[in-house]
């Protein structure tokens, strides 16, 4: 494993621009801006990133000329990313060593969900700005710690619910916030079911994977290919099913359109049916109802729900004058023509238009303004997913105090709001 601990910004930029100069890809991705030619971005303004968790979604954040270091507990992921970067990034298996690098300004965190909180807090403590994949947090307490760390050190933390940066979500948000639906009293989200697993037996982890580090803060359990990498989503210990994986997209757009980033529900009631066999325990079907107050409205998560506009997932907004459908919620949002064609009248509400989710984060790193999906908004959305899963597990309605963040009259539910990680992996 290579560990170039003393790499400086200048060394990295010189190495990458030099080594990539002969390739077409390099010219398209690392233009002369990197070396400050023609009045473009000077090296001192270039944001050098590290990527933690580079399999699956994380691979998208590994970019020549921008990525100085990569980290993963799976050597296959490191090898693939290193090849893409033509060897121009240092590889680490321990994210703490990547965070020690003074030449790195900011990090992408695309590890499994159960690592998001700890890695984000540690990155803020190391003075890095952070782009963390959605859903932001795994417990209510973890979300609070992430916000606290970001604020304490003035870090720019963007959560990867990139739907807010799409044109359709922007148009829909503007359309709704300007009162075109009248008073919205209901948002109904739909999504297809969770997959069903099987009884693939536990086994020894493959040699390329450090299973203990992959587990990290989670309780120890034997390796199983159906627990790891993409499949973590279908286990409550690591992920939490579609309501986390896609709910963090769809409900992010909903909270934005409803201008509700600053608050949370007053009650949450979930029901669901898990697979009848196999090791995955997230509910295949699920129905969650969230009740908000001041203003009063409800949001439902239906898995599956009524599929609209032939989209696999999305949300419908129900006002007293009209309705609006927003399909998707991740990078592929869509909405109805009336919203797409809408122009805000003079004196109307103008919503921030993102240049792209990563671009918005990069801009904010330079301006030090809050990004569109700031950690506080990201945590509010993650809290919806977390509370939905707690209500499902316990089989009862939760009465939530959004200001003080506890469940009323339910000692057991409150014990699910925090989790101390295994070994040294705790906040």
């Amino acid at each position: 494993m290579s560990k170039l601990r003393n790499t400086t910004r200048r060394t990295f930029l010189t190495q990458t621009t030099g080594a990539l100069a002969g390739s077409m890809v390099a010219f398209s991705i690392v233009p002369s801006a990197v070396i400050g030619a023609n009045g473009q971005t000077a090296p001192s303004d270039k944001i050098i990133t590290g990527s933690i968790g580079i399999g699956g979604r994380g691979a998208a954040f590994v970019r020549p000329g921008m990525t100085a270091a990569i980290c993963d507990v799976d050597e296959n992921h490191l090898r693939a990313a290193s090849e893409r970067l033509q060897g121009q990034a240092d590889s680490y298996k321990d994210y703490r060593e990547l965070l020690d690098r003074k030449d790195i300004d900011a990090v992408f965190i695309a590890s499994p969900d159960h690592w998001h909180g700890l890695m984000t807090v540690h990155a803020c403590e190391a003075g890095k700005d952070v782009y963390v994949e959605k859903p932001a947090s795994k417990t209510i307490e973890e979300g609070k710690a992430m916000i606290e760390a970001a604020r304490r050190y003035g870090r720019i933390v963007q959560v990867g619910s990139q739907g807010r940066s799409t044109d359709a979500a922007y148009k829909a948000c503007q359309y709704i916030r300007n009162g075109n639906l009248g008073t919205v009293s209901k948002v109904t989200c739909w999504h297809y079911e969770n997959p069903k697993g099987d009884w693939t037996p536990d086994s020894s982890p493959p040699p390329e994977l450090d299973w203990d580090k992959w587990l990290g803060p989670a309780r120890w359990m034997p390796y199983n290919p159906n627990k790891v990498h993409f499949n973590f989503r279908w286990l409550l210990d690591f992920g939490g099913g579609q309501i986390r994986d896609r709910g963090a997209h769809v409900m992010s757009v909903a909270m934005w359109c409803m201008n509700a980033d600053h608050t949370g529900p007053v009650s949450v009631e979930a029901t669901g049916e898990p697979p009848h066999e196999g090791i995955w325990d997230c509910p295949c079907t699920m129905e969650v109802k969230y009740e908000f107050k001041n203003p009063d409205w409800t949001m439902t998560w239906s898995q599956p729900g009524e599929k609209l506009l032939d989209a696999a997932f999305g949300a419908k907004y129900w006002g007293d004058k009209d309705t609006l459908i927003v399909t998707g919620g991740d990078g592929g949002c869509g909405t109805e023509e009336k919203a797409m064609k809408y122009a805000v009248p003079a004196g109307g509400i103008e919503v921030f238009k993102s240049p792209g989710h990563i671009e918005n984060w990069m801009d904010c790193i330079k301006t030090r303004e809050k990004p569109l999906m700031d950690i506080e908004a990201g945590v509010q959305v993650a809290n919806l997913c977390i509370l939905g899963n707690i209500s499902y597990r316990l089989g009862r309605k939760l009465e939530w105090d959004p200001a003080n963040q506890y469940v009323k009259r339910d000692e057991e539910a409150n014990r699910w709001l925090a989790f101390i990680g295994r070994g040294p992996w705790h906040l």
């Binding site: 020690d100 304490r152 050190y153 009862r396 705790h426």
Partner: protein
């Protein structure tokens, strides 16, 4: 699927051990209809060779236990807790013991603390006992954890310290303070982390660990702990001591994010020592630090 009504434990158990996965699900999803009498038979089925039956039994036990913790079902909860307490001992299969500890962590109360504390000394199951006690927010649990801290092997001490920090036990602070000077870096760091989180004023100034020997990551963690500790002290009405903690940070690092956090903290105190400290930082090499100082002094 319409919910089936079960008239007896036997009828319920028959469905739990049915070969058909849908029948098993239909049963365990109705475990709320059962009471503590179903627990012994379900526990037996956890040992089934059939993974679907073992899983259905485990799911039924979880659902039954969760339902017992609902508001207004106190009598049932106490009986369920009693059943689980019979299953934490060594004579039980390990998967049953682990489940018992994990469910007691959610529904147990002060009555379980004394017995569970004895398992903090059992190498095989101590971690589960710890997870359980850290959730039960009464002082006898803190007392048990502090006693275990004095009497446990060194490799388990960081876990015990973390549990006390997680619980934010005020009464643990004096004991934790003694570990700050430990030559074992892991112990000293764990103690600092817990003290910062608890946020109760220590009897003396926080001593530095062997700072130069810490990894960069641990140095960051230590500085963060000092700032978190100061924030908590400030909130609890100890501005002088909070200022001392912020000054420790400024004394040790030039990193701008730490300096800015410490300066912003000092600005809330605004006593002569804090103002003087900020003024002496006015020539700091970082523009951002100088800018923050300028802004807070102007305010």
């Amino acid at each position: 699927m319409n919910a089936k009504t079960y008239n007896s434990v036997d009828e319920f158990i028959n469905d739990i051990q049915n070969d058909n996965a849908d029948t098993r699900y239909a049963a365990w999803s109705q475990a709320k209809q059962m009471n503590e009498e179903a627990i012994p038979k379900l526990v037996e089925l956890m040992g089934s060779d059939h993974p679907g039956i073992a899983q259905a039994a485990t799911n039924a036990l979880q659902a039954l236990t969760h339902s017992s913790a609902e508001w207004g079902r106190e009598e049932l909860r106490l009986k369920v807790v009693g059943e689980w307490m019979k299953r934490i001992g060594e004579s039980n299969p390990s998967n049953v013991r682990v489940l018992a500890f994990r469910l007691l962590a959610k529904v147990g109360d002060e009555r379980v603390v004394s017995e569970i504390s004895t398992y903090l000394y059992s190498p095989y199951i101590r971690e589960e006992a710890l997870f359980c006690l850290q959730n039960i927010s009464i002082s006898t649990a803190a007392t048990a954890l502090i006693a275990a801290l004095r009497n446990s092997p060194d490799d388990f001490k960081p876990r015990l310290i973390a549990a006390l920090g997680y619980r934010r036990d005020d009464e643990a602070v004096d004991t934790l303070y003694d570990y700050l000077s430990s030559s074992d870096t892991e112990l000293a760091m764990a103690a600092m982390h817990a003290i910062a989180r608890i946020g109760k004023l220590c009897k003396k100034t926080i001593p530095w660990p062997n700072y130069a020997r810490l990894s960069s990551h641990d140095q960051n963690r230590f500085l963060n702990c000092l700032i978190e500790y100061a924030e908590n002290l400030l909130q609890k009405g100890h501005p002088e001591e909070a200022a001392r903690s912020y000054l420790q940070v400024l004394d040790k690092t030039n990193e701008e994010h730490f300096c800015c956090a410490a300066i912003l903290g000092l600005s809330k105190i605004n006593n002569p020592i804090a103002v003087q400290a900020m003024k002496t930082m006015a020539s700091h090499p970082s523009y951002k630090v100088r800018d923050v100082i300028k802004k807070v002094l102007n305010e």
